[in-house]
């Protein structure tokens, strides 16, 4: 439906989009995910026509639209701030695009009525935007775009301004709406849980480039770069020394690898929920190579899940998830844990992650990796921690346990 060929866009000295090629399929829900400043919004604005690329071509339905102004492109956008016309009523806001197309009055009014009922706002057509709640404005913005039956709907962080509860219900509602209407959605967000819940495919962006384009499941379980591993979900990223092709070591932690590797070092991803905890008392009798011990240094309670920060005697910090329905352990309490080999993901050694840790220090998102912009960190913290409360993280947690 949309084909981007080698798109680049620079603003002064900043390269916002760096040679991006992307093929968006008809009828899919594609999310551009990344921290602020990664170029996702610029990419969306390039598709909408608000910016023109310095280089590359944009095809919409096999037609070159690179030089077409926004009002000649058959795409519509839902803006982050909604951008409802404050001087027009709800009905006139929704009718705006149809009026521009010079459709007959009767058709305009029937399509506006349809759109209003689609977003469940029937009865509010004569209100002005300032008389609506945030959620209602969001729906008007959606109706105003959808009523034009665009080939592609672009959504620029449309849920960012809603409170958490409303945001979660709108996520599901948007997803169902997209499936029902069959319109291609291109959705921009910095919220990784939103991306995982809603999308058919996710494009994770960093520094103007697409790091990985895959299904949410792939992105979470098989990230191809350390950046993706760290940005999506919570992670322990460990730079290990290989002892044998299947045996690796970092500080005092020894790990068995799922597949043999023939390098001296490797970067491993271990999700917190992949670390299986066992209270020390029960397992003291069975010290084996797979069982390691650590001290609990911090408890991070997020509601449905609880994360534990562990420290091994050798000073390695790890983030683990407490299994559900387990009483909270005490800080300072010794714990033992195992890391099943099949739960370890091998990351290609990539320099995209500046924080790829000083040797032996895990770069999970809750610590402060050196070299990352502060803004990015603040974002990851706020985006990742509450994200666990949406049920999705928990599902993954169970996935992790059952394997």
């Amino acid at each position: 439906m949309i084909d981007l060929h080698n798109i680049s866009k620079r603003f002064a000295s900043i390269t916002a989009v760096d040679n991006v090629s992307l093929s968006i399929r008809t009828g899919e829900f594609l999310t551009l995910l990344g921290p602020s400043g990664c170029g996702k919004t610029t990419l969306l604005r390039l598709i909408a026509g608000f910016e023109s690329p310095d280089q590359g071509r944009i095809l919409l339905d096999n037609q070159d639209v690179t030089s077409l102004p926004p009002y000649r492109r058959d795409v519509n956008q839902v803006f982050q701030s909604y951008a409802l016309f404050p001087h027009l009523t709800v009905a006139k806001n929704i009718a705006f695009g149809l009026k521009m197309k010079r459709l007959p009055k009767s058709e305009i009014s029937s399509r506006v009525a349809d759109a209003l009922s689609t977003v469940e706002l029937t009865g509010l057509e004569h209100r002005k935007p300032h008389q609506l709640s945030g959620g209602q404005r969001q729906r008007v913005a959606l109706a105003r775009a959808l009523v034009n039956r665009p080939k592609v709907l672009l959504l620029d962080e449309p849920l960012a301004a809603l409170d958490a509860k409303l945001r979660h219900s709108m996520q599901l509602e948007l997803k169902r709406l997209q499936q029902r209407l069959g319109i291609t959605f291109v959705f921009v967000t910095h919220d990784q849980s939103e991306a995982l819940i809603m999308s058919d495919r996710v494009a994770v962006m960093h520094a103007g480039q697409i790091q990985q384009l895959a299904t949410p499941h792939e992105i979470y379980h098989h990230p191809t770069t350390p950046f993706v591993a760290q940005f999506v979900g919570q992670s322990n990223i460990l730079q290990v020394q290989l002892l044998t092709p299947t045996r690796a070591r970092i500080k005092d932690l020894e790990l068995t690898l799922p597949t043999p590797i023939n390098t001296e070092t490797a970067t491993l991803l271990i999700r917190p929920e992949s670390i299986t905890l066992t209270p020390t008392k029960e397992s003291r009798a069975v010290p084996g190579p797979s069982l390691s011990s650590a001290t609990l240094t911090e408890i991070l309670f997020t509601g449905p899940t609880t994360h534990l920060r562990l420290q091994t005697p050798g000073g390695l910090e790890l983030l683990a998830t407490l299994p559900p329905n387990t009483p909270h352990p005490q800080i300072g309490q010794p714990l033992t844990f195992t890391i099943p080999p099949q739960q370890i993901t091998l990351l290609p050694s990539d320099n995209a992650l500046p924080s790829s840790t000083s040797h032996g220090r895990p770069a999970h998102a809750l610590s402060t990796p050196a070299g990352l912009p502060n803004e990015w960190l603040a974002l990851t913290r706020s985006a990742i921690l509450p994200a666990r409360s949406d049920g999705n993280g928990e599902a993954n947690f169970h996935d992790g346990l059952q394997r």
Binding site: G49, P70, F79, A83, F85, H87, F96, G97, M100, A145
Partner: protein
């Protein structure tokens, strides 16, 4: 949101301005109204004897044309200020914050000099052997400085002076409303298929309308009463209502009749305020 009831303190804080308005706006206006129904003696002193003669005199004959000419000049001034000022104000509001403050400063700088001095400056520009005619000669648009285009002491000179004086008063309120305009609304309109002209007509214009109304009031109302520009740049050929009123108080020593003209002018202002104010109220709803 429930509005907080004003406290005693807030009334106290309003007291200085209330006293000011009572002493310097309401009282003089009341005196004017009283004078307009009085007569005068031979020496020009006001005689408190009720009469409506002043109004009969003002509404008959020559003063109608003076009023109309003044309204016409004020309307033309307002229209030109709007035409020149709107694009400029919009451009300033849409430029980057740095450029914006520089440009606003440029708009304000003329106010650092006395208004009269600026009017005299226009005289040196517009006079027969002035800057403008010299430039036109140099550009070979007129054959010789000895055959200049007459500008000073013509209605055109008055209009130039008026537009020059009132342009900032049109630009500032338009700038304020254009600056508040969310640029994503313009993008939204384009996104919904509106070409630039429709974007202007359906989104930008309606949303900057409060600024336009404020600008019109700020220019039109004082422009009707203006007399200095006409006196300095217009000469004696055409008389405007401002000049007529000053003449009654000064040369003619007929304060009651001057007051009558003033009261009529005031009624005109009240009327235009009421009209525009109502339109604005309708918009704000």
């Amino acid at each position: 949101m429930p509005t907080k009831r004003p406290t005693i303190l807030s009334y106290l804080l309003m007291l200085p301005i209330a006293i000011w308005l009572a002493a310097f706006v309401i009282a003089p206006a009341a005196i004017m109204v009283v004078y307009s129904f009085c007569t005068r003696d031979e020496l020009g002193e006001v005689v408190y004897q009720f009469t409506t003669d002043n109004y009969h005199r003002a509404l008959a004959g020559v003063y109608w044309s003076i009023f109309l000419r003044s309204i016409e000049l004020a309307a033309l001034t307002t229209a030109l200020c709007l035409l020149i000022g709107y694009p400029a104000a919009y451009f300033i509001a849409r430029s980057s914050p740095r450029t914006r403050s520089t440009l606003l400063l440029l708009v304000m700088i003329p106010f650092w000099t006395s208004f009269l001095i600026r009017a005299y400056a226009w005289m040196t520009i517009l006079k027969d052997q002035g800057l403008l005619n010299a430039s036109l000669t140099w550009a070979k648009l007129i054959p010789s400085i000895m055959n200049p285009t007459a500008l000073l002491y013509t209605p055109t000179a008055v209009l130039i002076g008026m537009v020059y004086s009132y342009l900032p008063f049109m630009m500032l309120p338009i700038y304020v409303s254009a600056e508040k305009l969310d640029p994503s609304l313009i993008e939204a309109a384009m996104d919904l298929g509106a070409p630039p002209l429709s974007v202007f007509r359906r989104v930008i214009l309606p949303l900057t309308r409060p600024g336009i109304y404020a600008g019109i009031l700020l220019v039109f109302v004082p422009a009707i009463g203006m007399f200095a520009i006409q006196d300095l740049l217009g000469g004696a050929s055409h008389i405007y209502i401002g000049t007529a009123i000053t003449n009654q108080f000064g040369l003619a020593r007929d304060m009651p009749f001057g007051a009558t003209l003033g009261v009529l002018l005031m009624l005109l202002f009240i009327l235009s305020f009421a009209l525009l104010g109502r339109r604005q109220a309708v918009w704000n709803d």
